[in-house]
């Protein structure tokens, strides 16, 4: 049967599924560190399985899923990010507490959802992938670990996520109604025939963007964050902010490329407006924060906005820019989050003012935080600067020079908000008598790897650009 051909291309996903089952079984019998080690190994296996399919375009289940270069690039970033998140979860352990072995299992399942979403080329598959990701994220957010606030945070997140899914479904339903197709490329072809001035298409785009906003990490209405100070552990936060939005960006880009760039719809304007709002709003909100965790979360709204800037130009280098941007953002955020976790384990606070004197008590952690934040600002030669630069280039190519201007002004806003943190961490005198010490091995590893990726990004720019270029080509064929 043709439908069931190529099922082996699901090997990375299958490994993840197997790994998750193993982790859940192990978590019952051996709740020590083993489940997390197994999870880490599973991600590595999945990565190897992915590599065997390098540079081939494979259609699975009658075109429901598509394994092309674009999927490959997104998958590689997702898997690398997820592995570092597992390391973070390993390091964020307080003696006397349950190791939270299930955490790793749900992370694997969420990663599985992320891979499916990134390769989905059909509406139902897209929805299944995204929901598999989202449901696991709800569970991760709600897994009560410290205090009773987790459940509340998880519930808030669930409500918001479901609302987003509903909006997305409306959008997809509209597209189906207009075209009578569920495969994304076919929808694009059908819409081209309808004609440019169809308000329903615009409405569909707006609904989809609104539905995706939460998943892309663009909504400032993350009021669940108000409780996460006590509730959601930082590794989970890092996972939601990185893997969650990576997959959403992958899926959204394919949707945008296959469907809307085929029509004469001025989709760029819509995206430019949303990007402007997200960048400016996110940075302003981040400026007002007193907690480093919340600052990182709110600034990720701004970074999401930046990534959207790249999507204003799908014809030339937009997708390349987006992929480079995602590859650059992930290690920058993880580096900063790892530093926050490592420091939080000695100081038990996430207030920015408590970071004072960090450079003298825990210099390694302070440097990692500094590198992560400097990259997020877009300091030249660090990873973030190349992503931002290519995004600006995409905006100019797409005819949105004003958006590039807004982007540069937002670099300034972001610099203001991160420099405040760097100032406290490096220049202020210590508030507390912090014991000097080294963070745990997994945290050291996570910080080292992500900081090295951020610093060495410039050296690897050539290969990264080539890979991202393949991703772009794959979409346009």
């Amino acid at each position: 049967m043709k439908t069931l051909d190529n099922l082996l291309a699901f090997a990375p996903e299958l490994w993840l599924l197997l790994g998750a089952v193993a982790v859940f079984l192990l978590a019952r019998s051996r709740p020590g560190r083993w489940p997390q080690v197994v999870a880490f190994g599973t991600l590595a296996l999945s990565f190897l399985a992915l590599m065997t399919q390098f540079q081939s375009k494979i259609t699975i289940l009658d075109g429901a899923f598509l394994l092309d270069s674009f999927t490959m690039v997104v998958d590689v970033i997702v898997l690398a990010t997820a592995s570092i998140c597992v390391l973070l979860a390993m390091g964020d352990y307080i003696p006397g507490e349950s190791r939270g072995a299930e955490l790793a299992g749900f992370m694997l399942l969420a990663t599985l959802g992320a891979l499916l979403a990134a390769s989905a080329a059909e509406m139902a598959a897209l929805l299944v992938g995204l929901e598999l990701l989202a449901i696991n994220l709800y569970i991760l957010a709600a897994l009560a670990r410290r205090g009773g606030e987790s459940a509340q945070a998880g519930l808030g997140y669930l409500v918001l996520g479901v609302a987003g899914t509903a909006l997305m479904l409306y959008g997809l339903a509209l597209l189906y109604g207009l075209s009578g197709e569920t495969r994304l490329s076919a929808v694009g072809h059908a819409l081209r025939a309808i004609g440019p001035r169809q308000p329903a298409v615009l409405l569909a785009l707006c609904l989809l963007l609104a539905g995706f906003a939460g998943k892309l990490g663009l909504t400032p209405v993350r009021w669940w964050t108000r409780r996460f100070d006590l509730g959601v552990p930082v590794p989970v936060l890092a996972f939601i902010a990185s893997v969650g939005s990576l997959a959403a960006f992958g899926a959204f880009t394919r949707l945008l490329f296959s469907v809307f760039s085929q029509t004469a719809l001025p989709y760029g304007v819509v995206i430019a407006v949303v990007a402007t709002a997200a960048m400016t709003g996110g940075n302003l909100l981040a400026l007002a924060q007193t907690s480093i965790r919340r600052l990182l979360v709110y600034s990720s709204i701004a970074q999401g906005g930046y990534a959207l800037v790249a999507l204003t130009d799908l014809q030339h280098g937009g997708v390349t820019a987006l992929l480079v941007m995602l590859a650059a953002l992930a290690p920058s955020y993880l580096c900063a989050f790892a530093a926050v976790i490592a420091y939080g384990r000695t100081v038990h606070s996430d207030a920015i003012k408590d970071l004072a004197g960090m450079s003298r008590t825990t210099p390694g952690v302070a440097i990692a935080l500094g590198i992560g934040l400097a990259s997020l600002v877009g300091f030249p030669l660090l990873a973030g600067s190349f992503g931002k630069f290519l995004a600006l280039q995409a905006a100019v190519e797409g005819g949105f020079a004003w958006l590039a201007m807004v982007g540069v002004i937002n670099i300034l806003l972001a610099a203001l908000c991160y420099l405040r943190v760097i100032r406290v961490a490096f220049l202020d005198d210590p508030v507390y008598d912090v014991p000097r010490g080294r963070p745990d091995r997994p945290l050291q590893l996570a910080m080292g790897v992500s900081a090295a990726a951020v610093v060495a990004f410039g050296l690897l720019l050539g290969p990264v650009l080539t890979a991202a270029g393949f991703g772009q080509q794959a979409l346009s064929h």
């Binding site: 300091f379 030249p380 190349f386 600006l392 590039a404 201007m405 670099i411 300034l412 420099l419 220049l427």
Partner: protein
């Protein structure tokens, strides 16, 4: 040739090496200072080699190095010098060496201090030698963080208002600079950051004004121009002497360098339209600096106003865009850097000996510190432009060059220069003559280290005053090339 790479990267390599040195005992701290001195001396020696070998008088770039680097975004590792940047590189080498010499007073966190100072030198030399706008921006940014940290950690009173103002000003400036560079980049058909290629780019008239302003603002903020000069005088008032020397002598002068290279060189047509406003700004800066110098009681801030005021003269040279004036500007930068360095060394020494920075509380120091008095007078005269000392030629050329196009502004600027001369001499009178201060301590004269540094700088000032031609010819050809080949 690796000469320019060495000049740019030797300080950074030394800084990296210093990170692995222990710094607990006084001997270990002394060793760190020795390594810094050696690195700074090596860079200065390489500068001299570069100057000696600079025979090319076509006005084009010498010692060019091009290496493929980030081809994905159209940027390459492209270094090169012309007469203007070569002169400033020499100045940079001398001033950083002087700063390393007089940094024996730094006691706290010695390692951090020297590492940051060396990184700052790489930033300064890199932005002078870079012929690629991306590289230039990188080195420009590389100056900001070390400078901010140096001003913050090793300032006199730990308030460090200057460090904050510097950060704020540089943040705004960097955003504008980045925007300007990106506009040029996106307007170039081949998408390149190369300075020489972009120099020939025809910037469309509609955005030429915008690009001009976007470049002008960061450079003018750095210069600094009135009314945005308070970061500089605050920083000068607070900074440790070595930091103050490089800040006043070369770091701020990079603003003038940028104005010469980009605003006067590349965007000449727009400059002609805006020259009235630029000249007005120049005159205001000259006068404001002079008046503020009259009213200033803090001996360190007094020196800073001399520098601010002369920054106005450099701006006047830009406004005129006349080759003679720009030649004079480059010469004045070198002369001023040396004189200001000397004045700062002496001011810090005097303030330390007298245990006060208030000029009103000083007096009659000439009898206690005769060497200090003589050197201060010579440095002040050099800063004023006494014939035979370096500043004279520079100021004269600026006035000669800018008079034909800006008669009123030039006349006013000459008047302002006289004011600042009077202010400096009046301060000299109040510090060294008049009723002696009551102090229970015995006032020592300046020490051999300060004496050696000041005399070394003075020798260069005299040399430049007698033989300006050692730099002048190469500067002149470069300025002519810069002004002739302009696109927009």
């Amino acid at each position: 040739m690796f000469l320019l790479s060495a000049i740019v990267l030797v300080p950074a390599i030394a800084a990296l090496a210093l990170l692995f040195f222990p710094s607990r005992t006084p001997a270990e701290k002394e060793r760190i200072r020795t390594v810094t001195l050696a690195a700074a001396a090596l860079v200065t020696a390489l500068d001299v080699v570069m100057w000696y070998g600079f025979r090319d008088q076509s006005g084009s770039f010498a010692y060019e190095e091009t290496r493929s680097w980030l081809p994905g975004i159209g940027s390459s590792y492209h270094l090169g010098v012309d007469g203007v940047s070569m002169s400033l590189l020499l100045l940079s080498g001398v001033l950083f060496l002087a700063a390393a010499f007089v940094s024996n007073r730094v006691r706290e966190d010695v390692k951090g201090f020297f590492v940051l100072l060396l990184l700052l030198e790489t930033g300064v030399n890199g932005s002078l030698a870079a012929l690629d706008f991306f590289l230039f921006f990188l080195f420009w940014e590389l100056q900001v963080l070390p400078l901010g940290f140096l001003l913050w950690r090793w300032s006199a009173n730990r308030r460090a208002g200057g460090a904050w103002k510097l950060m704020a000003v540089e943040l705004v400036g960097s955003a504008f600079l980045l925007l300007a560079i990106l506009i040029l980049y996106f307007k170039s058909p081949t998408r390149t950051f190369d300075v020489a290629t972009l120099h020939n780019l025809q910037v469309p008239g509609s955005i030429a004004g915008l690009v001009f302003a976007l470049f002008f603002i960061p450079f003018a903020l750095r210069l600094p121009v009135v009314p945005f000069h308070s970061w500089f005088s605050d920083a000068q008032g607070e900074a440790a002497a070595p930091v103050a020397i490089v800040l006043a002598g070369i770091v701020t002068r990079l603003g003038a360098y940028g104005l010469y290279r980009v605003n006067a060189g590349q965007l000449q047509a727009t400059l002609h339209r805006a020259s009235g406003a630029v000249a007005a700004l120049a005159v205001i800066t000259v006068f404001w600096g002079a008046v503020a110098a009259f009213r200033e009681d803090d001996i360190r801030r007094l020196v800073s106003y001399l520098v601010v005021s002369h920054g106005g003269l450099l701006l006047l040279a830009v406004a005129s865009a006349a080759p003679t004036a720009l030649n004079g500007g480059v010469l004045l930068m070198v002369a001023d850097g040396l004189a200001a360095g000397m004045l700062i060394v002496l001011a810090a020494a005097i303030a330390e000996r007298a245990n006060t920075r208030s000029i009103a509380a000083m007096g009659g120091l000439a009898r206690r510190m005769p060497k200090g008095a003589v050197l201060w007078l010579l440095a002040a005269l050099a800063g004023l432009g006494l014939p035979g000392l370096a500043g004279f030629v520079g100021e004269l050329l600026i006035f000669l060059g800018s008079y034909p196009s800006h008669r009123l502004a030039t006349s006013l600027a000459i008047l302002g220069t006289l004011f600042i001369a009077v202010a400096t001499l009046w301060a000299f009178q109040r510090i060294f003559f008049g009723p002696p201060i009551e102090t229970d301590r015995r006032l020592r004269d300046i020490g051999s280290l300060e004496l050696g540094t000041s005399v070394g700088l003075l020798c260069l000032i005299v040399l430049m005053g007698i033989l300006p031609a050692i730099l002048m010819d190469s500067i002149n050809f470069s300025v002519l090339t810069l002004l002739s080949g302009s696109g927009g």
